[in-house]
């Protein structure tokens, strides 16, 4: 079972990232997945969370996710070093959208906003971060499934651009 947490800000599409991952794993990889948001009274701009569980067996666990295999940040201003404690094991890692270089061996960095701006023309980095994640989490989800998930969730013109963004990030991750 893989457990993943997404950090973003209301309006940034982090939960869409989690949903795409869920679609990829469950519908196109024929596995099982959950995707669920955190939800609070704070409004657009406030920090929000999204979660995934992925497994080859049916998932019935409905409790909250504490420790994770992957933690994804769509916005580096949200990051705080204490989350390193939330990682499950030695393979687990944190993926951050930032212009900075990694400052910890469990942290992988990518300037996803830049990639998004270049490929989509918008600073919406969720598909980029999905690509980056997929490059590491190959046991959890396949690249192909992610691409199918993106394709099935958007208008074709949008999908093409997002798949491109996804692939750039996927390759970046593979080369780290």
């Amino acid at each position: 079972m893989f457990e993943i947490r997404w950090h973003g800000r209301g309006g940034q599409g982090s939960f869409t990232g989690a949903k795409l991952l869920g679609v990829a794993a469950s519908i196109y990889d024929q596995q099982y997945a959950q995707a669920f948001p955190s939800f609070g009274p704070e409004r657009r701009g406030a920090p929000v969370l999204g979660f995934n569980r992925i497994d080859s067996k049916k998932i019935t666990d409905r409790s909250e996710i504490d420790t994770c295999d992957y933690i994804v940040y769509l916005d580096d201003t949200l990051y705080d070093d204490v989350v390193l404690n939330d990682l499950k094991n030695n393979d687990a890692m944190i993926l951050i959208n930032t212009q900075k270089e990694s400052w910890h061996d469990r942290i992988k960095c990518i300037d996803a906003t830049q990639i998004a701006l270049e490929t989509l023309g918008l600073p919406i980095a969720n598909t980029v971060m999905l690509g980056f994640l997929a490059s590491f989490a190959s046991n959890a989800v396949t690249k192909e499934a992610c691409i199918e998930a993106i394709r099935s969730s958007m208008k074709p013109s949008q999908a093409d651009k997002n798949i491109k963004a996804f692939e750039i990030a996927f390759d970046k991750g593979g080369n780290l």
């Binding site: 869920g22 519908i27 959950q34 669920f36 948001p37 998932i59 019935t60 409905r62 409790s63």
Partner: protein
Amino acid sequence: MSRNAFLNGNEAVAYGVKLSRPNVVAAYPITPQTKAVEKISSFVQNGELDCEYMHVESEHSAMACSIGASSVGARTFTATSSQGLLYMAECLPYASGARLPIVMMNANRSLATPWNIYGDQMDTMFLLNSGWVQIFVEDAQEALDVTIQSFKLAEDVRVMAPVMVNLDGFVLTHTYEKVSIPSQEAVDQYLPPFKPSAHMMNDEEPMSMCITAGNQHNMEFKIKQHQELFNALHVFEEIDHSFNEKFGRSYGGVLEGYQNEDADYLLVTTGSVTGTARVVVDELRSKGVKAGIIKLRVVRPFPKEAMVRSVAGAKAIGIIDKNISFGYEGTIYTNVNSALLQRGLNLITLNFIGGIGGRDITKQNIEEMFEKLSTVSTSEAVDAVSYYNVRCSL
């Protein structure tokens, strides 16, 4: 042909509704039910569902409109939660007394005050005397399937009663998972259009509905309603079978036992916590602990016989209540205890209260519950009611 989709519980219900082809939907938005009615209205605005969608101004009117529509024989759906459910409370025994087969989704949510939008089951438990069939579901697939089944159940001539389908707020309503969506043809075969009952208003023989019955007659009307509501138990079992035959999914009827056959320690669960408990039971079984679950699917009518039968062999049973009846105990606990006492079952029962106001019930909590059950079976000096995942000392 059925197809798979990645849906949350709200959307799953919306698909269940669409496939059931209601004539009228009247609903008022409330978190965490909104995505269900939004999805249904998008079906309507997109022409995918041909029904009268009523934008009502409150839940009391949502149920009153539903009563109006159902009283002329229209298949009717509504959805609500929490404050909304209580705001329409007056209309609930109204509809059940009138024997109107309305189906309602309720997103289980905490009750104010304090305000809170998260899931617990205090809202539904408030309404146990309403005369509605009350069903709890565990996941999005069950939510979709039970929505369809609910129309069949409600409209069955032996039952002819409104049905409430309960989904834990957020944990079910907002969690996406893989769901198989049956084909419209299959559902059309399984659930044909409703043939209005003769007690409803109609053009051939005009009827007076929701009448007055004075002290000369009222008691008999109520006893009739009460006795016939019990039919929902076996009809729901039938439906579980026929649904399984058609769609290949069964949920065990009024309750589902999981590892209960030889269990020493049983947990009675409703809704989503069942899934988490399954994980724990699997673990405990692997360690040799004879743990099991009774997933209570139908809370009204209360499946007294099935419950008593299923737990009879256990040493101790724990009842998880995601609600508190202030000044007493968890409501399901009270209900189960009464059944056991009537059958003279000398069982130890404990009440595990958790999940209030959206508080997580963890796997560790459930382990602790089983742990407690196994100690109490040898010692009687425990408190019957305990709370899980509380963040302060009590």
